[in-house]
Amino acid sequence: MEDHGSPALARLLEALPDAVQETHARLGDATARVDPTRIVEVARLLRDDPKLDFQMLSDVTCVDYLGETPRFEVVYHFYSVEHNQRLRIKARVGGEQPEIASLTSLYASANWMEREVWDLYGVRFTDHPDLRRILLYEAFEGHPLRKDYPKERRQPLVGPRN
């Protein structure tokens, strides 16, 4: 696997070579696809290794590649203030009940963003302390950003609950 001239990818490949499945740095964005079962291990290395020092998990999102297996790709964007560099980590999950370990124990910012991914894509984050829907309401059926959710589908409006 290549590091494409990115110091972050080089360090990741050196420390956890068997967790990384694919790398690229197209358009200048260093990217690694990792084994979904080892995402917490990868994130811990990214946060605690002094050469990496990614203190910020600045974004968590998901892409639905309908028709491919595994179907979903959870995408994390890390940022290091110290080294002013970014790294994108991706992990593929699929099956009837797609799930991946939560990063809330390492990054507090993961809490709301993982709730959003659960809400809109239906990817479950194990060990998340409070995995409720965040943008939609509890009575909403389905996960609207999945590619097989029709845009025109209507759902009954319900009032707020306490």
Partner: protein, 411 residues
């Protein structure tokens, strides 16, 4: 008899203890509350007058931004981006268009880049004015709010003369801007800036050392540097905690590396520091606008769009007389550019912090995925931490200076 009275007094004393010090009260605030300029619901657990726990419930303005973007062409997503942060619409336009240009590997002319910076900084001033003005309003000070709104009107007038709209100002296009600035713009802009500076002085005189304002803001809504980083907080909140991180300096986009400006930082990370950082950022933005005007006058009139045929319409004379250009025009109007397959993330410094767009293209004329990294959403998450144990009254200024914008937070 006396014994019974003693016992009932004991029971009363127990009740007294229990009512005042044991039972916690649940208070619902929002989703529509006059003191919060945003549609958000707070479920507050009160221990007396102090906040013991706070659950922030967002989503009331969710309208499926990403789903809508995935159903139109790359061009048709631009107007949705104005409606994200409606206080500084142009900044979201810039972020989205720069991200699409990154996927297209497209360079825009220098004149276009300066115009984008100019329009973006005017929006930033408008956004900060709203934030600081509304914070005063919600602390019962009407006059400074009106100073702020008068100054904001001036920036909106300038944006109107650039693109024709005041609020949902849609100015940026993929590969360019709608058109160059009008001839009278530099003069208008300099006049407006002098007035904005005078209004900011008035604002400063009334607010910055006002005893009530300072008492309400100082020491409230505190957050440490470490917590900011853990929660991925960016923008004025992070800077007020003392971290000089600004995407314009850290990863300069457009022509920010040629512009001279400073990044103000705070010391302790409370609401008062956030206010001071915003006020100073407005002064810096005015400096940037001046440099843009000087540079644009030096460059003179000329093209503001790229010549790349993937995004640029062919010249009208050719469209009317030649087959190829007619077809190209038809394709440009009906489907717009086909973006090469791939993924890209681009971040800009919006008024609230890092506004990022993560785009995925499958090579077609329709975006496969448009993810907006919303600073309002991410900066709101640590609010329950900022207010742990604080007075209920501190919730108002803290929420104001976080400047959560429903359109961007809920998308």
């Amino acid at each position: 008899m006396a014994e019974a009275r003693d016992r009932s007094e004991e029971v009363l004393a127990e009740d007294f203890e229990r009512d005042l010090h044991v039972e916690r009260q649940i208070l619902n605030m929002g989703p529509s509350h006059p003191a919060t300029h945003g549609t958000v619901k707070f479920l507050i657990e009160l221990d007396g007058e102090n906040i013991a726990a706070l659950d922030i419930q967002v989503g009331y303005l969710h309208r499926g931004f990403e789903k809508e973007c995935e159903s139109g062409t790359w061009y048709q997503a631009i107007p949705y981006t104005d409606r994200l942060n409606y206080n500084s619409a142009i900044l979201a336009n810039i972020g989205y268009c720069l991200a699409v240009e990154k996927l297209l590997e497209l360079e825009t002319p220098e004149r276009c880049q300066w115009l984008r910076v100019l329009a973006g900084e005017l929006s930033r001033i408008g956004d900060h004015l709203t934030r600081c003005g509304a914070a005063c309003l919600e602390l019962q000070a009407m006059t400074p709010f009106l100073y702020g709104i008068e100054a904001r009107e001036l920036t909106w007038d300038l944006l109107e003369s650039l693109c024709g709209a005041r609020v949902t100002s849609n100015y940026v296009r993929i590969g360019g801007v709608k058109h160059g600035m009008p001839d009278a713009f530099p003069e208008l802009c300099r006049g407006a800036m002098a007035r904005i500076r005078a209004l900011l002085r008035d604002f400063d005189d009334v607010v910055t050392s006002n005893r009530i304002f300072v008492d309400r803001l100082k020491g409230t809504g505190l957050i440490s540097q470490e917590d900011c980083l853990r929660y991925a907080v960016t923008g004025p909140i992070l800077r007020s905690a003392g971290v000089p991180l600004d995407v314009r300096k850290a990863e300069p986009y457009l022509v920010y590396d040629e512009i001279d400006f400073d990044v103000p930082i705070g010391e302790v990370g409370d609401n008062y520091d956030r206010y001071l950082v915003c006020v100073e950022e407005m002064q810096q933005s005015l400096r940037i606008v001046e440099q843009c005007l000087a540079q644009l006058e030096k460059l003179g009139p000329g093209p503001v769009d790229t010549l790349d045929p993937r995004v640029r319409w062919p010249a009208k004379g050719r469209v009317f007389n030649r087959m190829e250009e007619l077809i190209q025009q038809f394709k440009s109007v009906t489907e717009g550019p086909r973006v090469p397959a791939g993924e890209g993330y681009l971040a800009i410094e919006s008024a609230n912090g890092e506004l990022g767009f993560y785009l995925v293209s499958d090579g077609s004329a329709v975006p496969y995925k448009v993810r907006c990294r919303p600073p309002s959403f991410i900066n709101l998450a640590p609010m329950s931490l900022m207010l742990r144990g604080a007075f209920l009254a501190d919730l108002i200024p803290t929420f104001d200076l976080i400047n959560m914008i429903g359109g961007e937070c809920d998308r």
